[in-house]
Amino acid sequence: MAGKWKLIGEDIAPPDLVAKITGKAKYAEDFRAEGMLFAKVLASPMPHARVTRIDASAALRMPGVEGVITAEDLPPSDNPYAERALTMEPLYEGEAILAVAAVDETTAADAIERIEIDFEPLPFVVDPLDSLRPGGPDARVDGNSFVREEGETHLRSIKWSAEAFENAGDGLAMGEVNAEWKVGDIEEGFSDADFVLDETIVHQSLTHHPLEPRSCMAYWQNGKLYLHASTQSAMRTAGAVARGVGIDTDDLVFVAEYCGGGFGSKISGTVNMPIPALLARKTGKPVMYRVTRAEENYFGRARPGFQARVKMGWRADGRLTALDLFIVQDNGPYGRQSDMFTAGTIGSLAYTPLTMRFRGVSVLTNTPPRSAQRGPGGVQVVAMLEPLMDRAARQLGIDRVAMRRINAADRNTKFGSGQAALTSAFVREAIDLGAELFDWEAKSRMSGQRNGTKVTGVGVAVSPFVGGSIGFDGLVILKEDGKLYIHQGIGNLGTHSVADTARAAAEVLDMPWEQVEIVWGSTARNLPYSAVQAGSQTTHAHTRANYAAGLDAKRKLQELAARDLGGSPDDYDVGGGRVYNRGNRSRSMTLAAAARRAVVLGGRYDGHELPEDINDATVKSATALAGQGLMGVAKDTFPREGSTFTWVIGFARVEIDVETGHAEIVEYVATTDCGTMLHPRSLGAQIYGGSIQGFGVAMSQKWVYDPQWGVPFTKGFHMAKPPTMLDVPLDVQWAAVNEPDPYNPVGCKGIGEPPVGAGAGAVACAIQDALGAAAFNRTPITTEMIMAELEDIPAPFRQPTAHL
């Protein structure tokens, strides 16, 4: 593919970089409005309670206090289980009950102290297994697990028998589940196996903690709500805001030009967005709601933890014959989480077992709400299963990289419950590339070697994740200034995809990048219907959509030229800022002139007539833009056969100090099959950044809960322990296979998610390797766990307890 593109594959910094590094870029908390009030919330001090009385009159009589809202001020919801911005039945410590607006924050906080509020405590539970025990508490009054029946979601109370728990010992008890699928005969798979492992593994819950808290500011003007918030996806957040406030999206101007990190926690905005909007309506003044770091811990979302029973069987040649995955998912109190389902799918794709069974039960707890976190389900399953692959390799005398190659997916693999097909897969190529870059052959001989007090371990992990979706809209306008304006409805969350996916449209029209303007970040800027910026779908989905819009614009340019200059449209091509006759280049017109002609001709040329298959949101935006130039607008209808998946392979080398138990990652290499490289430097940053988040999963980040009172200890950064610059190796490398995906016009697949599992899995394997195949079966692998292993004393926890 080399040489085919001018922009795809180049290092081009996003156009907003200078604003970001000079302090000019405005994030949500940087906006001001005349007379702006500040909001504070009263958060539940209990993990589960019913509010029985609120008296805010004394607070409201304080000078400077302007208004209070409670759940009664929210628009009604037709889903009784849905999470809302405020509640009268808090389901976790820290959930917001009411909000106060005052002239400044200390006054608002003082007012909160003056509010009289009575709670009726209700039963609560923080560990899913405690809820599954006979007579165990349910996290909600009506049950502890969501079930889908006849298209509706209900709550049920699932309890397992006392015998199940007694028989399990320190292993995970197994009882009724509410999700199950299988492929092949699992018993036959195990009977074909020469080596079988049956392990209980705990994967922690952990908060997303983007650096920008989900602060938001709102005001109303002439009946319209203006909201500044932090979101991963711009166009796909507007509806959530409107629903949360109870208005039509036409009455909303939603501004979200910058997002200070999301990682899945701000996919369609945030649950607290209605608070300043409703306080602003009630008080008639703008309201800023600054969210604290502790509040980020409470309602800033978290990855669902797993307590799992994993049984795997291998033939003597290393082939995985059976994978039996049994998962208890910590669902948190709201929303039916899908991580465990994805874990089943990714487990199937990562190791292509000859037979497989997935069983899962998602159990509600009175802990903060969960959501997708970068590599949802995939990270958990890779971090849990990769160390087992290593133990089997050691037992069977097979090299660990060879073990991955033996079980790797390829183009013909079918995976998951539906035995889905793949659009492309260059997994062995990525493994081989990484093994060479890391020099696995030499490094793996360092395994267990002692140097002073340090012992070395190496690990490898294979991490696939979804790499694209299809069917969204592209919208571009070629204006009379000769520039191409590419409208992007996706968000600007730091992946640079808001700029990078625009390249596809520019490529079609051979536009130099300096002539491209990217329009994004506000519903007032007329943006097309877009993917949510999640699931690593954006790069694939929006290179397709922008390519489609580019092709539409190109066709219109060809038609215009034929009309004015003679011949047929196919005689013309676009390049060098002109539309020209292939046979006679002097028969041409500039793109600026073509844009002027398009406006004169109107109709479909300038957006007055639109295609019928585009989304209503795109129709609205295109209609508002009609008459400004030559419009390219199209729905992505490019074919796709199979599912789009990306792989990252991680290789880690660690050194463990046998006197202190401290583990240090000293080297890391990652390779990827993500299709054609779109923006190499940014791709490298995604690979490293995601992998380092995975290091946090493997080694440091977790929750600690007091089961007696149901309250967390890990509310700030220093307790939640995300990786710092000193936790990462200086010696890192990455590389990409760089083979195009056949179902993307520029060959690209997404990259955001799979590095996290690669980082987590490789480091977990390397730590295990340094200690001679020690079975931790738990993340994060902390210093005290390593010390207990080194000193041969019992583990400092009782498996499979959560939130330790």
Binding site: I21, A56, P63, D104, G494, G689, F717
Partner: protein, 215 residues
């Protein structure tokens, strides 16, 4: 919900009915008492404790700025809410993340944990003070642009201030020294390697000058 008494206006009914059994948790703890900003709104209504001047002069980005502050006001809040300098970010307000880092007499500090009245007479430089008035970027900023640094960039202003302090103190750091100098700043996108690459390039620009043709 109808049996629950909710009073959200200032003049409630005289009788308070329905005193319901259970835990009375009036004044539920606000877990974030320090993450607060008192603005001008009620400042005049409060007795100002302590003998600290209210109206002070700060030197920010080379300019003298008169500003009305409260004794407990942090420098980050003064800059962000009174001087219009929103480039300084707040990620934790607890000296944990470094997003609010700025220079006081050339030394990086967490401005979330510096009281404004304590910096009178000292030179404060925030991210807005790095580029020249004509828009020419500081060599460190230019190195970041050339290296395509940062993802979401919410940490960027704080990191860049730490980078400036480093290269001015030591224009020829090793990668390890640079990592230590920047370890007080968190990047949740974990773009640490690109940030380090940019830092090493920034040090080179500081030693050798910014190349005439930047990438």
């Amino acid at each position: 919900m109808s049996e629950v008494e909710i009073i959200t206006d200032a003049d409630p009914p005289v009788s308070r009915r329905n005193f319901i059994k259970g835990v009375i948790a009036s004044g539920a703890a606000v877990s974030s008492a320090a993450y607060l900003f008192r603005g001008a709104g009620t400042a005049t209504a409060q007795g100002t404790a302590g003998a600290v001047e209210r109206l002070i002069t700060l030197t920010v980005n080379g300019q003298q700025r008169r500003v009305d502050i409260l004794p407990q006001e942090t420098l980050a809040m003064t800059l962000r809410y009174k001087l219009g300098l929103t480039g300084t970010k707040l990620g934790c307000d607890r000296s944990e993340c470094g997003a609010c880092t700025l220079l006081i007499d050339g030394v990086p500090h967490y401005s979330c944990s510096i009281l404004t009245h304590s910096v009178r007479g000292r030179e404060v430089v925030s991210i807005e003070g790095l580029a020249s008035s004509s828009g020419e970027l500081h060599p460190v900023q230019q190195a970041v642009v050339d290296g395509g640094g940062f993802q979401c960039a919410f940490c960027a202003p704080g990191f860049i201030m730490s980078m400036v302090a480093l290269v001015e103190r030591n224009p020829d750091p090793t990668r390890e020294e640079a990592a230590h100098a920047l370890s007080g700043n968190l990047c949740r996108c974990c773009d640490y390697h690109k940030i380090l690459d940019c830092t090493m390039e920034a040090a080179r620009y500081t030693r050798e000058g910014v190349p005439a043709v930047a990438n």
